[in-house]
């Protein structure tokens, strides 16, 4: 990695660490909410004759919802630069803009991945979720889903004109995407229209990927399709964002 990239990644990590309260809230809240949704997922699992206990779905659902909501942090990472006047500074600095953007996306992709994994870990400790399949497969799904989210986040930033717009798109999008994928309530309980659009949502593939990864016999091969869909989605959205990106565009922002 180049000196520049190390510097940019270090800066992003440092800034994220200095808003640790936000990071902590995004870790605690999903566990609390999973406590409420756990019974609903367990009941549906029982009625549908699934082998799942419901805990893995409750935990995975919250991991997905909050990883999606973490988009707001990615948005802040871009909009803060505008508010602080450092964006033009970076544009004028001897560094390719692709590295500036790449460092942000890499750090926030890692953050989202780690948060999902931390939730699985905390979910395991607090609610008795055990990974009977493959830990590596869980990591793969978390990483692939985070990639899809990061791609969507970058595209949302590129098309938004202000961080207010970005936040609305982010939270609304997170709820719709998570809801239609079965992360908020069991997929089988969703209205028919939501079940129809569900497979178009990254959350759908992430939910199924998590379930397959933690279930007995779960392996990388079991989640390959899920990860493939999620990775392709992330790359497609990210590429669309890169094509539409106008670095000189002025955006309304507040720090």
């Amino acid at each position: 990695m180049s000196v520049r990239l190390v510097a940019l990644v270090g800066r992003e990590v440092r800034m994220l660490a200095r808003s640790w309260q936000v990071v902590a809230v995004y870790l605690v809240l999903p566990v609390v909410i999973a406590g409420f949704t756990r019974e609903a997922f367990a009941t549906v699992a029982l009625v549908s004759g699934s082998e799942a206990s419901g805990i893995e779905q409750a935990v995975a659902g919250q991991a997905i919802l909050f990883a999606t909501m973490l988009l707001s942090q990615l948005g802040y990472a871009f909009y803060e630069e505008q508010a602080w006047g450092t964006w033009d500074r970076l544009r004028a600095a001897p560094v390719p803009l692709a590295e500036v953007v790449g460092a942000k996306l890499a750090v926030h992709w890692s953050h989202q991945t780690l948060q999902s994994l931390a939730l699985v870990l905390v979910g395991g400790a607090v609610m008795g979720l055990s990974v009977e399949g493959s830990v590596l497969a869980v990591v793969a799904v978390a990483a692939a889903f985070a990639l899809a989210v990061a791609g969507a986040g970058f595209l949302a930033f590129v098309v938004s004109a202000s961080n207010a717009q970005f936040n609305i798109a982010c939270y609304l999008g997170a709820l719709v995407v998570a809801g239609c994928g079965g992360a908020l309530v069991p997929f089988d309980l969703l209205p028919s229209w939501a079940r129809a659009v569900g497979p178009l949502m990254p959350s759908y593939w992430a939910m199924r990927g998590f379930e397959a990864a933690v279930a007995p016999g779960g392996s990388l091969a079991e989640v390959a399709r899920h990860c493939g869909v999620l990775t392709a989605t992330g790359l497609a959205l990210g590429t669309a964002g890169a094509v539409a990106f106008r670095p000189e565009r002025r955006r309304r922002s507040y720090a």
Partner: protein
Amino acid sequence: MSPLVEVERVAVTYGRGPAARDALRGVDLGIDAGEVVGLVGRNGAGKSTLMSVVAGLVAPVDGRVRIGGRGQDGSLATKRRVGLAPQDEGIYPTLTVRENLDLFVRLAGRRGAARRRRVEELAEELVLSELLDRRAGQLSGGQRRRVHTALAFAHSPEVLLLDEPTAGVDVETRTALLDAVRRASAAGAAVVYSTHHLHELDQLGCRVAVLDAGRLVADDPIPALLARYAASAIEVDFDGPAPGDGFPGAERVERVEHEAGRLRIVIDDPAAHLGEVATWAAGSDRRVLGIRVVEADLEAVYLRLAGGPAPDADGTPLLR
């Protein structure tokens, strides 16, 4: 030999259609290595746009900019040669001063001991050594401005673009910034320094470029500007209308201006003629309220070139 920075017929237009606004209209400017050019003009005259074009942040619709003979194409090669401190402050408030400086020194590719040494040098140069471990967001306005300017120096650029670096700062900060500009210039950097504090340009003894409505209306060293656009004078204030004529040394006077009770006698070396004029004024039938020598200064030049009413919508220049 060509100047280090060559700005040729640069035109910039913001917006499209009926909302389009010309920010620069065919500006030509050359800056040599080691030279400081003071850029002045009213708000909206195009100073910041010109700096952005030289820095490669704004693409001109016409004309071109060359840095060291190479076209400003926004490439890394040209970015390495240019350091910009934009008008609006641009620092990371959640990072310490050291982390802010360190980031931009690293972006310039320095590592290890050289990197640490450069951070210390920058801190010393901009009087930030005592503040290195404080969060930038906790600093005073003047201290933040020094950090902001220091970031432009981080990679030791050959071309420094400082857009109103002393806006809202105290005397200590202004002195530190002007010293830093002098040192950079002495080390061979071409500096473009925009300001509304004209006395700073006097202190820097630099060439002055005046922008008005996107056009360069003057570009000369200060003595040449003063000779061309401003004149020294003796001003006499009377209680009532000023007498029309009859003062001594009429043949040496360039011109006489009346303004209510004030008589302005434009003359070479006014101090030498002060006694003569005072005697004449005291002997007139009007009571004299005051008499003083008014030296030609940059402010007079500025007011003449760019201080009038706002230009017409079509950008008619204000050269009078």
